[in-house]
């Protein structure tokens, strides 16, 4: 097994860690599927408000690729289509009847050739778990990926522990790995922390150990160090541990299993456990009391999406983080010695007196927007052979060739989340990277 040590990066230690037990959440009164969870999808609805749906009923398809469909994982009635700006479909909300009646799809779980596996995954909607690099978007079922990468070591703040999610699902996980190995022309590559020895037991995949601070768990970092993406046509896929388990279960039973495990974390949430619930579940069904004026995030604090209290878990997320919103102005903030402020920089007293203590973070930007002044610091939190500030500037200049040469194919938004975090000029790195990826895909 290859062990890769990373030195650069930064662990943000937040308070609000979760108790390591799984609670059974009640069946959610509302479930939603959000096309916006799938980067690059242009959804077209197949259902209307009031339609009856079953487990396995297609709800929408992708106009760019009609084989890719969003599939309902519950039975019930479509109660609402939420639209955002310019009538973008944000969510297809279903009121489940709780019976989980099956569509009777006749999923093929015996045939292990690539085409029939893909067909089964498309029919069950589980195909949407795959994310493609380059461009960090939904995969195309017509592609045969060079490799499939799985990160079993989410290193983001308060991230769900993949080894805990895996517990008592080992056989499904193995089954999932077996299935995935038929989809790629190369290998399934599984990366995990040296401490999680259970992952070392799995077959039909290449195993890697990564050591180091966040973003050591990012799949982009793994790809970069194991076998980097060469060009726009060098396609690899990735998916989460939970997705592999779900794919495994699909092929074990021949049925769509809607159950997932979601972690609730963050200082503003009171009942912090792992919850067993339904994919796309309304968070209010299990989250319990949260503090007033707090922000709920589907995903982690660095890359997740803001959701309302009436919102739903993202399709690929296994974490709900709740943190307080910024509310109070701080008088002469620049003079504050900063006993409770935390920074990658060591300009606050806390860096000396309590350097290792976890702290409470809120949503304050903490300063005004300025031009980038300190160019070299971003290198310190990107453990790849990438020069972040140069890449960012090439994107801002819309210089396609330069972007390509500087490695835009190898990165995604999440790899630059820490740059955004530590930036004293408050530059929106993730937004810029997304812009660059979109531009590259269009023009490149």
């Amino acid at each position: 097994m290859k062990v890769i040590k990373l030195r650069r990066g930064y662990n943000i230690k937040l308070i609000g860690e979760t108790v390591r037990t799984v609670e059974q959440a009640p069946f959610p009164p509302k479930v939603a599927f959000k096309p916006t969870d799938f980067e690059g999808m242009k959804p077209k609805l197949l259902v209307q408000v009031g339609d009856e749906v079953k487990v396995g009923t297609p709800l929408a398809f992708d106009k760019k690729n009609e084989r890719v469909k969003i599939i309902s994982h519950v039975s019930g009635k479509v109660s609402e289509i939420v639209r955002g700006e310019r009538r973008v479909i944000e969510a297809i909300v279903i009121e489940p009847d709780g019976k989980q009646t099956d569509e009777g799809l006749n999923l093929d779980k015996e045939n292990f050739n690539k085409e029939s596996i893909i067909e089964t995954l498309l029919k069950s909607g589980l195909f949407l778990n795959f994310v493609q690099r380059p461009f960090n978007k939904i995969a195309n079922p017509a592609d045969t990926p060079r490799d499939i990468f799985i990160s079993a070591m989410d290193s983001a703040p308060l991230a769900a522990e993949d080894s805990f999610i895996l517990e008592s699902n080992e056989s499904s996980f193995q089954k999932g790995l077996d299935i995935l190995s038929h989809l790629t022309s190369g290998k399934v590559r599984l990366s995990f922390k040296p401490a999680d020895k259970t992952f070392a037991e799995f077959n039909n995949c290449e195993l890697y150990n990564f050591k180091g601070p966040h973003p050591a768990g990012n799949v982009g970092v793994h790809i970069h160090h194991i076998s980097p993406i060469k060009n726009a046509n060098d396609i690899v896929w990735s998916c989460s541990v939970q997705a592999v388990i779900r794919i495994g279960r699909l092929f074990e039973t021949g049925k769509i299993n809607s159950e997932i495990i979601v972690k609730v974390a963050g200082s503003a949430a009171e009942k912090r456990y792992y919850y067993k619930t339904i994919i796309g579940a309304g968070v209010s069904s299990f989250i319990g009391t949260i503090e007033e004026d707090s922000r709920m995030i589907s995903g982690n604090v660095l890359t997740g999406k803001k959701i309302e209290e009436t919102g739903f878990i993202g399709f690929k997320d296994n974490l709900i983080t709740v943190i307080p919103e910024a509310t109070k102005p701080e008088f002469l903030g620049w003079l504050n010695p900063g006993f409770s402020k935390r920074s990658w920089w060591k300009t606050f007293v806390s860096a000396i007196i309590t350097p290792k203590k976890a702290f409470q973070a809120d949503t304050n930007i903490g300063g005004g927007n300025r031009s980038i002044v300190i160019n070299s610091i971003y290198e310190e939190v990107v453990p790849m052979r990438i020069l972040p500030s140069y890449l960012i500037k090439s994107i801002l200049a819309e210089d396609i060739e330069e972007m390509e040469a500087l490695g835009i194919y190898e990165v995604s938004e999440e790899d630059f989340a820490l740059c955004e975090y530590i930036c004293p000029s408050k530059t929106e790195f993730q937004h810029i990277i997304r812009k660059g990826l979109n531009l590259m895909e269009k023009e490149g």
Partner: protein, 392 residues
Amino acid sequence: MKFLYDFIQKFGPLFKKGGKLEKLYPIYEMGEGFMFVLPHRTKTGSHIRDAIDMKRFMITVYVALIPAFIFGIFNAGYQHFLSLGITVTIWQIILKGAIVVIPIYLIVLITGGIWEVLFACVRKHEINEGFLITSFLIPLIVPPTIPWWQLVTATTFGIVIGKEIFGGVGMNIFNPALVARAFLFFAFPKAMSGNSVWTVFGGKVVDTYTSATPLAVISDTVSASGGIIEVLADKGYTLWNMFLGIIPGSIGETSTLMILLGLLILLLTKTASWRIVLSVFVGGFAMITLLNQFAPEPTHIFALPAHYHFVMGGFAFGAVFMATDPVSSCGTNTGKYVFGFLIGVLAILVRTLNPAYPEGMMLAILLMNTFSPLIDHFVVQANKKRRLKYAS
């Protein structure tokens, strides 16, 4: 502090878009940001952000400069009374120093501030906190006898030509404070060189007082005997004196001790790049060691050992506060080693080989500022080449 916050907010609409004083918005933003860290919430991207901002960053650099500034006040007074041969109390020394130094600082601050605000209002960008540092650096690198009108001209040149014409902080090629210093050096050479500008005299100078700086002393050792260290000691310049900084020179750069204190603050808070500081000293050391081998006689300037060079003139100050300017130095970590090393080499080269410029640090840094994009270019090319190798 709620009433104050509300009070400030009340004036917001006046300055914001559509308000009567819309054009002066940068001033409002500065005042508001100075008084409060606003509860602005993250909208896109990362939901939490580091507590640092440009203000905090610059304030930290500012704090690191304070020891050198305070010592500069002390030393200006101390040298004054020393030249007169009068023994006085520490408070009299500080008072005299303050009378000399504080106006210099205020003149630079006001001149720089006016230009900064003017450009911010015209260009519609925020007032950059970097100007706080520039206006603190300039007083530290000028002689205490500098005529005020020259200071105003130099500050204007430094801020406008050195920074604003490029688009403000973050876009400039040269360190604005050094541009101001270079302007003074070339435009008003009489006020910036020679032996009489480094001390504020004020009467009859006693015979025991040496007004020539140590760098001037070592440049002129024709008739001396013994070793170069003895030549220096003859004039009262021991290693210890120069390390403490109780010697004539520019206001803030004489005390290596205070500069090291500043360096400690900068490095502990990560606000300066250790790579640059380290490699400046390594480059200087390498060059000095080389020159030591070629010293024709023991009194020759080539014979001076490295630790003497480091405590003399602006070497330490330049290495710690000028070369580390994040904007005009290299933007890649690899490039920083080369950048720093060459500054060290060039500074010693100019200092020892060119009798017209006794101090080489300023020119070395400005020259390397010019070359830093080139160094970065090579680092970036190497990065691209490496990628090309596996991409094809």
